[in-house]
Symmetry: C2
Amino acid sequence: MKLLILQEKLKQGLNIVERISSKSLTLPILNNILISTEKNFLNLAATDLEIGINWWVLTKIEKEGKITIPSRLFSNFINLLPNKKINLEVKDNSLFIECENYKTQIKGLSAEEFPIIPKITHGDTISIEISSFCKSLNQIADIAVPSTTRPEISGIYFLFQKNLITIAATDSFRLGEKKIFLKSNSPLEKEYSLILPQKTAKELINIFNEKQGELKMHFSPNQVMFEYPMEETPHAQIQVVSRLIEGEYPNYQEIIPKKCTTQLILNKDEFLNQVKTASLFSGKINEVKIKANPEEKNIEIFSQSSEIGEYQSSVSAKTKGEPLEISFNHRFLLDGLLSIKTPEIIFELNQESGPGVLKAMGDDTYIYVVMPIKAS
Amino acid sequence: MKLLILQEKLKQGLNIVERISSKSLTLPILNNILISTEKNFLNLAATDLEIGINWWVLTKIEKEGKITIPSRLFSNFINLLPNKKINLEVKDNSLFIECENYKTQIKGLSAEEFPIIPKITHGDTISIEISSFCKSLNQIADIAVPSTTRPEISGIYFLFQKNLITIAATDSFRLGEKKIFLKSNSPLEKEYSLILPQKTAKELINIFNEKQGELKMHFSPNQVMFEYPMEETPHAQIQVVSRLIEGEYPNYQEIIPKKCTTQLILNKDEFLNQVKTASLFSGKINEVKIKANPEEKNIEIFSQSSEIGEYQSSVSAKTKGEPLEISFNHRFLLDGLLSIKTPEIIFELNQESGPGVLKAMGDDTYIYVVMPIKAS
């Protein structure tokens, strides 16, 4: 292999694939990045056996070939080079790198040992606008938790129905659900549902967050592939393939309350700040109590711990329905508030033991359901 | 105790004293902050028994008194309040805090149990310009390392001679020395030398880094006190008292080479970047080799590791004296380069086993001496 590439371009690719390489003691090659040529393209690839990432760039290939080298070292090294032409050449199982007055060689492992990253070449495909996809996933991805007894809820649930995508996640204490309406003219013929590993969801956000345009999603029974097109050429620039989590996602719809007994409309930042402040006094069970009385123009927030002291504050609110005292874990309440970006929120409550629902004011596409701490 | 204070002011004071409070299991009161009144001033104090900090602010005292409360909690809480008037009141061993629609009480411990923070009321005093003091200390403070066998070198050495202060630190692999010339008209009558704990040096930088004006330094045999005056009043705003490290500081002057066999003049950023890049290939002993030949207009940098690979680069340099190959620990070289702020540096070398000296071009007040890795 022998080729020329600009430092800036190589750096971009490395920053995308490098994060996936894992420190694996049993399979050291997973710590490496696969560097290979494909016609006029340089290809970088990395995998942790759950997720595989391929990145391509059009460049000047003088001689085809391939090698794998330690990804962290390669990425750190390239990041420190000046933005000039870099000469990459494979000789004697090493990668020789020359750039201006820098000259190095990095020992590699044979490309033959690198695991094959699967591609999905047929089956249904949809197109999603990237920024809305990343924003939506961002609202949901952190809610899932690793669970060995219930592996389904350690992933993010996706349901595809014609031109509607529903994304949901829960850790059994709270649940988030987001709907994305596709503008695309080619709705899916049949319904698909899948459970995406949380790690894949977070990597997708990382990789595509700043990108513009459309992301293509390819379906297969056990895997899903996300593809980002390359400008000016028909070739993809980035492909992310992920295994899916097997199993049936819980029927979470039945947890979402269809009505409420008390409704609060609150300024999000004020409420958020008071919950945060109350959390300092909430003791070991993280309990923050909310007292709402529709006759008042505000709600009260309480917390206390026998060791620390007592907290009380109030925030102005539009209140409808029955008076109520209800307690929440402040962490779950804060996560929900932080996932909403509008200045005003709607907080719907269902007596002291029913789930609460947070919604963004004027946005029906997102809900956050949070279970209360039941009075003992 | 009962008083009124603006949130912004209280926050400023807490951010200064709070850091000193330590999580002490044997003496839980050290985790607390002492809040007390002194005539028209509110006083906050914290200590870890090595360093003590006092902070005062002029405010409206309705009733004198004092209490100690957990410092982290108090500081976190005050930071989250709006910038409005805060009412502080001590009742039943608790501090009651009211601010707008917030109302809390924090359980305290008796102020009588709080250790007394000593004050130095007589003895010699000098005035130092704060920004030059903090910048100088910043160049030196990180070099010291905790040492149980040689406690002296775990501190920062200060020598006061008339209107010259010399600050030095070493970890026996490298040494930094900085000279500060005082503009003050009241030079000290006699010489003082002392060893300041590294933690105190770092706290001084933290507290005073952004401040303007003069810092007063008071001497006593076992302690030193730094005092920052309060605007408009004769009272101090901040007092930091620190114990000193006992013992005799090593006569480090004899390590500093008086001449050199090879002199290099280098662009700091270029050299720094290449040492950083070389460090990626330097293996377990952190060795980076420099090859200088006065006939060339550059120096070469090498590193290698049997596991990783090989590195080589060159950086343009003005070279005088003998040709030379010398190896350094890249961490020590990088620390030295990072402590110099000028665009050009002078690197003086003394054959392959003598110490190297880094200097800022055009600044004789600072030197950084670094021991080479001797060829085995």
